[in-house]
Amino acid sequence: MAKMQALMCRECGKEYSTEAVHVCELCFGPLEVKYNYDDIKEKMSRTSVETGPKSLWRYKELLPIEGHPTVGLHAGMTPLIHARNLGAYLGLDNLYVKNDCVNHPTLSFKDRVVAVALTRARELGYETAACASTGNLANSVAAHAAQAGMQCYVFIPGDLEAAKVLGNLIFRPKVVEIEGTYDDVNRLCSEIAGERRWAFVNVNIRPYYAEGSKTLAFEVAEQLGWRAPDHVVVPMASGSLLTKIWKGLNEFKKIGLLKEVSTKVNGAQAEGCSPIATAFKNGRDFFQPVKPDTIAKSLAIGNPADGYYALKTAAESGGAMESVTDDEVIEGINLLAQTEGIFAETAGGVTIGVLRKLAKQGVIKKHEVTVAYITGNGLKTQEAVMNSVGRPYRIPPSLVKFEQTFGQRGAS
């Protein structure tokens, strides 16, 4: 029996064949992959994983592809670092950082979801990859499409920073700047996805694409020595990543790779775009959409598709949600860099800022095994910290001047 049984509506449970559909025809709820876990349990063991490829494909039995992976063969298996310095600063003895800043090939966790999405898209016969994006996703889709020999269309708002546009153009996709706002790009992409036979990774391929995020849970559990952490702190944009980390941990338990999962799943947002965290703090099970206004642009989704499910996950797992100001985001980026030598993008600053709050509030206890997810590289959002890192010392090429600036040898 195939490991993928169907696509199933998360609301009404209606099932569909595993094609490129993403919305239930009956109730318009989102679709999710339904697996045959009994079959997977037979094929997947700790040993089979440990002897698998050094990439996310070591977990391919729990990923939504039918054959062998063909795109993004080197994505995943990023370092899990025991963050002793940052832990000491925050009063946490067992703090870990999952560092997707160094994911292959485009330095963000999007390389995971795109590897899965485009492998599945090719299985479904697609020759063109597409996405709507403001940064990391576009970079990853363009890079993977280039490697896979697929045509590629990337849709971006017309006022995007030059560096981000360049980061797409280098891979030679068709970069389409839309004269309008994020909302206009969003609406147009949704319409185009209905008209063209393209693999729009975050529209019609979304049920498969989102599954790639589970590998962030799988890897952490394996890297911790086959145990689930007590806490995870996860940045939230659409909310999908947080729900998939929870799903991934529970799948490992379901097939017997983990004995116990009592992880508290905590969500992090920037105050300038915190519809999910605000709803959580107000004790609501629904969120009010917002107009984003934050430097954490990779998290700036005002009307998050998985916001409702993220709220449900936090409640179910006993986790919390918090938000931080843009100043706290910058402090978080600097703190991680200065304690652990990791330069994270703004989303990482959000995660560290919220981690700091949760530790201070006593939500995360000193001894608890805690994993903070750092999902993108700071080199992509340098403008965010440009004014907070100081300037180089500028001196003439003179030993005297050097010693005047830094003191005599042996003096310090």
């Binding site: 609301e11 709820g29 709507a132 403001t134 975050n202 959409p289």
Partner: protein, 92 residues
């Protein structure tokens, strides 16, 4: 002049477009979906909804000629309703 409800239903082939719409608190008591069905030549089909005292949303399908659906969407926006694709934000 014919009343809007007496106008003939749209003929095939019809487009069917799906939207997620949200009502601000002050619009919740208004029969907006009823009005749209009468003011424009579109058929409205509500698939899921959650309407409370202070907030409300619906997942809705509009059937009709594409241009008429677009006019109906503009009409909804004019009435203060927020209209998004059924997928919500896909830009990320």
């Amino acid at each position: 002049m014919k009343c809007p409800s007496c106008l003939p239903l749209p003929v095939e082939p019809m487009a069917k477009l799906r939207f997620h719409i949200r009502f601000p608190e002050e619009k919740i008591p208004e029969p907006i979906i009823y009005e749209i069905g009468h003011e424009y030549q579109v058929v409205t089909s509500i698939r899921r909804a959650d309407v409370r005292e202070t907030t409300g949303w619906m997942d809705i399908e509009l059937s009709g000629e594409t241009e008429e659906i677009e006019r109906a969407i503009e009409g909804l926006r004019h009435k203060g309703v927020l209209v998004d694709p059924i997928e919500l934000n896909v830009v990320e």
